[in-house]
């Protein structure tokens, strides 16, 4: 159900799957590969990011666009309410903020839609212009929020580069560049990340990642019988020393033990 919701809503929703029976990481990975669960936009963890008060499994907690819990319960019994609540949150983004002060509405709408640069710039203009202390405080809070979210996005891209997920980092950086457009301060976050991604020293790493991506896409789409462990071992040998090689060896081990 949640995998279908992630596909249906795409980037407008983030699904996090939390394994809740204490199985080891490799066991969970093997189980997920067998069922072709991986390769989508959903995140997977065995850490519980929020308290879950429901007793059975599967169960869920839904957070609104600001990260506040708004609905929880059985994923089976509450399936339709869950979907309706998600759709309402997505609509909220499209409609724009309803409670923002009139002069701050455009900036708040931009922020809600992920336009960090224009939101920050609009808010900063208002801070300079207004004599209303309350409005200025709201504008400062919004500018700080836009800046904080942009920094968090930049840090995420940095972590993806550290992990060797260059293709994903590149996609997110292209989106990020558009998101910070309009604010010199936030646009400055782009170049260091672009420099890191375009570093010649990563050439071998990137070749290895592309080769692994091809095998992973078959594995995720067709299941664990579709890629022989030997193909992954060969990739690991060919690109020895790269992060992709380490990942390929790990996957080969999972498939061989499966």
């Amino acid at each position: 159900m949640a995998i279908k919701l992630q596909e249906e809503f795409g980037d407008a929703l983030q699904v996090i799957f939390v394994e809740s029976q204490g199985h080891g990481a490799e066991e969970i990975e093997r189980y997920g590969l067998e069922r072709k669960w991986f390769g989508g936009k959903a995140l997977w963890t065995s850490e519980r990011p929020v308290r879950n008060t429901s007793s059975g499994l599967p169960s869920f907690v839904l957070l609104d666009v600001d990260g506040r819990p708004i609905l929880e319960g059985s994923s089976i019994r509450l399936a339709s309410q869950m979907e309706e609540a998600i759709a309402a949150e997505v609509q909220k983004i499209r409609r724009g903020p309803e409670d923002a002060p009139k002069d701050l509405k455009d900036a708040a709408r931009d922020l809600l839609r992920g336009g960090f640069g224009s939101a920050a710039t609009e808010a900063e203009k208002l801070i300079q212009k207004t004599e209303d202390a309350e409005l200025a405080a709201a504008a400062r809070a919004l500018a700080a929020d836009a800046s904080g979210r942009a920094s968090a996005s930049a840090a995420r891209i940095g972590r993806l580069i550290d992990e060797g997920s260059y293709l994903r980092a590149e996609d997110l950086l292209d989106e990020f560049e558009k998101a910070v457009d309009g604010s010199d301060a936030l646009e400055a976050l782009v170049e260091p990340l672009r420099d890191r991604l375009e570093d010649d020293a990563l050439e071998e790493e990137r070749k290895a990642e592309k080769a692994l991506r091809k095998l992973e896409s078959v594995l995720f789409a067709k299941g664990d019988d579709a890629v022989p462990p030997r193909a992954l071992t060969k990739l690991a040998e060919k690109h020895a020393g790269t992060k992709a090689a380490a990942r390929a060896s790990h996957l080969a081990g999972l498939l061989a033990d499966g």
Binding site: L5, F17, V18, W44, V65, L78, R156
Partner: protein
């Protein structure tokens, strides 16, 4: 009858649990550790602000 009604309400409460009023509830905060399986560069739950987040707790049947 009263007992049955109480049980039914109790069961319903365990199935349907709208959280606190959205305006009053605090944003959830959590820092993931490196042992997580696949987090796509996400380090904290707050990194995902700006879109709804569905946290699905699952187990093997």
């Amino acid at each position: 009858m009263r007992i049955h009604l109480t049980s039914a309400i109790g069961l319903l409460a365990s199935v349907v649990a709208p959280c606190q009023d959205g305006a009053a509830a605090k944003p959830a905060e959590f820092q993931f550790q490196s042992r997580s399986l696949h987090l796509d560069g996400v380090s904290r739950l707050s990194d995902l602000r700006g879109r709804p987040v569905l946290i699905e707790f699952w187990g093997r049947r």
